[in-house]
């Protein structure tokens, strides 16, 4: 019985994206990891089969057949989109987490536009992603939130936006920005009123080519190398006031709304970590099932068999947490604690399973291009981005005790 997936759509998404991951992602994963390159061709193909860069704006509600219309008792109907996203993300990350992030990277920027954007802003965003760039590549978007001095503490952003007539003038430096070098449109977050603290932080839609928007250095990373991460600089970048997200919704459009958005993406990020862990687990399971060690089946060794059991237990537990958090979101329940639990547990599982898998394989796992070694490097980011493991525990702890412990 699958208590969280009561509709055939979930199985269909798993099957479709699982096949896509196996046939289209896996074969190119090692290459893009080695080259630290974005899978532009695959991204174009994915766009052609519906994994569009703007899907969060254009089709979020319909992709899973959801509706915000209330039922006959006036209650919101359950949605499926959070669970669909988790089911699909696990499959894509099973293929390659870096490529999965490349495929979905624009969604990080699209989400706040979908949530807070005006029709005009949405149109600007869509127009910026239409067609191809000067290299013939599909266009992508970037969400520019983190800064050199503010990683976990996103309330202390240093980037500033100063009002000047009909424009805002943005200055500041952004760090660890997915698609930061290649994006055609950015959603940049900056402080509009230093005295207002978190409430003064607002998002702006800025298109490539705007004077003062300077894509910076691409980072060389430990893992997820098929996903571009770069610095972005804003130097007296003038943005029309109509491009500030949530105009007229001052009470709800600030950073608090962004934080809620991060809460909603945590189960999806956890699902990706589950996908990495499952990939490594399946690799060593197959090895243990089919190989011998010194003339005896590997599977006959308790040392290995119990290690597999431990891996599977942790993966299953992580997946249940992920889907519980997603199920709660789909049923309009407060899932903050479970979203953090899901993300933190899955990240820990991915690291533990990939580390153990390498131990089990020995020197073989050091061969360049070996998938398990890649998964080991990919796994680490899941305990860092979208809120570190410490931030997740801080959130969980506050939910339990009411205090922000230090």
């Amino acid at each position: 019985m699958d208590i969280f997936h009561d509709h055939p759509m979930f199985g269909a998404v798993r099957q479709m994206l699982g096949a896509f991951a196996k046939q289209s992602i896996r074969p190119i994963a090692a290459l893009h990891d080695a080259e630290e390159s974005m899978p532009w061709e695959l991204m174009k193909q994915a766009q052609g089969v519906g994994l569009a860069q703007t899907s969060l704006i254009d089709a979020q509600k319909t992709i899973a057949g959801d509706s915000d219309e209330p039922d006959e008792h006036g209650k919101k109907k359950p949605r499926k989109s959070a669970r669909v996203a988790c089911v699909g993300s696990e499959e894509l990350a099973w293929g390659c987490a870096g490529i999965a992030l490349a495929l979905g990277g624009s969604g990080l920027a699209a989400a706040p536009v979908a949530r807070m954007g005006t029709d005009e802003q949405k149109q600007v965003f869509r127009d910026a992603l239409r067609g191809t760039d000067e290299h013939g590549r599909i266009k992508v978007a970037a969400m520019a939130l983190s800064e050199p001095s503010t990683g976990s503490d996103i309330s202390s952003l240093q980037a500033s936006a100063r009002a000047d007539g009909d424009h805002w003038v943005i200055n500041g430096h952004k760090q660890w920005i997915t698609n930061g070098k290649s994006a055609s449109v950015y959603v940049v977050w900056a402080q509009t009123d230093p005295d207002a603290g978190r409430a003064g932080v607002r998002g702006f839609v800025v298109t490539r080519g705007t004077p003062g928007l300077v894509p910076g250095r691409k980072e060389v990373k430990l893992g997820i190398r098929a996903s571009e991460t770069a610095q972005v600089h804003f130097e007296d970048c003038r943005v029309h006031r109509d491009m500030m997200l949530g105009a007229g919704r001052e009470r709800t459009a600030g950073l608090g709304d962004t934080k809620k958005m991060l809460d909603s993406t945590r189960p999806v990020v956890g699902a990706q970590a589950v996908g990495i862990a499952r990939a490594a687990f399946e690799f060593v399971l197959e090895r243990v099932r089919t190989s011998e060690l010194h003339g005896t089946p590997m599977a006959s060794h308790q040392h290995l068999s119990f290690a597999l059991a431990e891996m599977d237990m942790e993966i299953q537990a992580s997946r249940l947490l992920v889907h519980r958090a997603a199920w709660m979101a789909d049923h309009h329940q407060d899932n903050v604690k479970f979203a953090s639990m899901a993300k933190a547990h899955a990240a820990r599982t991915a690291q533990a399973v990939t580390t153990r898998a390498m131990q089990m394989l020995g020197e073989e796992a050091l061969e360049p291009g070996h998938p398990v070694e890649k998964w080991y490097r990919d796994a680490k980011i899941y305990d860092i981005f979208e809120g570190t493991g410490q931030i997740q525990r801080r959130i969980i702890g506050k939910q339990l005790t009411g205090l922000n412990a230090t």
Partner: protein, 364 residues
């Protein structure tokens, strides 16, 4: 009981520490990016007695009397702080040198020591999973198969091979000219001149077979114990370096109004790593001392030391990257490299935990 270093050990530690702080640490990042050691490495190392320190003095080496694994472990800890890849290149000659001194024929001694004193390298590999097929039906050995990747092999003139011919253990010195070597650059220890060996009926003459059967079993046990203690020592050094970097970063990085190093969760994480590293250091030095003293438990403790130190480094590197956060994931800071480097300490020579369990099971 005396935990203090003697005068010679203090001198060696301070000398290596200077080498690490002045040269190795400075070369590490560039060597990692290039996937190759700097040209000066072997010259500088040779000047302070590396490479031939385990070659007997009567063969133009530096070894007079017994070799000290305790001193080597102290040296390894320092080297591990600097760069795992370069440390591997500086340490790789020891096992072949000692093995040939202990079990080698005159021909093997002449070949290996001639090469090493001429500036060549040698390295060691264990075919723990039985990847090679070895025919020992005549006086020598005929080797077929693929093994590796093996660190330092791409630059080595000789390979000390621990393997089995059927059910019979064999320890042999293999001239790498008889093998096909495919240089590779893994993601960790990138500058360590790795290669995968391919043998297609490679011949090892009888006088290069150092031991067979029961004698080889004991000899391999000893060789791998030397290697394990050396690996463990370097892992301890790498763990020390990772947490030293992380501690410094945590004292400077301010989030939520205070240095992140003041958050209890990070203090606990760091303290746990430093405690485990201190324990690993003690275990490494104990195992090394047991090797020097010829204690019966030396091999077992060498395995334990390697297992524990490898796991400690693995955990510590992951935690150090965690403390750095996003900066730890990019290669501007040294902990990203240490996390890549950490893997080799646990997977070289096979799955230590499994092999130790099997050894104890077989001994029951």
């Amino acid at each position: 009981m005396d935990f203090a270093l003697d005068d010679e050990q203090q001198l060696i530690v301070s000398t290596i520490r200077r080498l690490v702080d002045k040269d190795l640490g400075a070369w590490a990042a560039d060597a990692d990016r290039a996937g190759a050691p700097p040209d000066r490495l072997l010259d500088v190392a040779g000047e302070i007695g590396f490479l031939v320190d385990a070659v007997p003095a009567d063969a133009d080496g530096l070894l007079e009397g017994d070799y000290s694994h305790a001193t080597r472990a102290l040296r390894g800890i320092e080297l591990g702080r600097g760069c795992s890849a370069l440390a591997a290149l500086l340490e790789c000659n020891v096992e072949p040198s000692l093995a040939v001194a202990t079990w080698g024929s005159d021909a093997a001694r002449a070949a290996l020591y001639g090469a090493l004193t001429g500036g060549k390298l040698a390295t060691t590999a264990s075919d723990w999973a039985g990847a090679l097929t070895i025919d020992a039906s005549d006086d020598g050995l005929t080797i077929t198969g693929v093994l590796g990747p093996v660190p330092c092999l791409a630059n080595a003139s000789h390979l000390l091979l621990c393997a089995k011919a059927g059910d019979e253990p064999v320890l042999a010195l293999v001239d790498t000219a008889t093998l096909s070597l495919d240089p590779v650059v893994p993601s960790g220890w990138r500058a360590a001149a790795w290669a995968t060996l391919r043998a297609d009926g490679a011949r090892v003459p009888a006088d290069f077979v150092l031991a067979r059967g029961v004698a080889a079993h004991r000899a391999i046990d000893q060789v791998l114990s030397w290697y394990r203690v050396s690996l463990a020592a370097r892992a301890v050094g790498a763990a020390q370096a990772a947490m030293t970097h992380a501690r410094g970063y945590a004292e400077e990085r301010v989030q939520f109004g205070q240095p992140i190093g003041r958050f209890e969760s990070l203090i606990g994480m760091r303290d746990q790593s430093e405690t485990a590293t201190a324990a690993a250091r003690a275990l490494v030095l104990q195992a090394a001392w047991e090797l020097d003293a010829g204690m019966p438990d030396a091999a077992n403790d060498a395995s334990r030391a390697r297992d524990f130190a490898g796991a400690t480094l693995s955990r510590t590197a992951i935690d150090a990257v965690q403390i750095y956060g996003g900066y730890g994931f990019v290669n501007d800071y040294p902990v990203e490299k240490i996390m890549r480097d950490a893997r080799a300490y646990e997977v070289l020579l096979g799955n230590e935990g499994l092999l130790r369990v099997l050894a104890q099971k077989g001994g029951e």
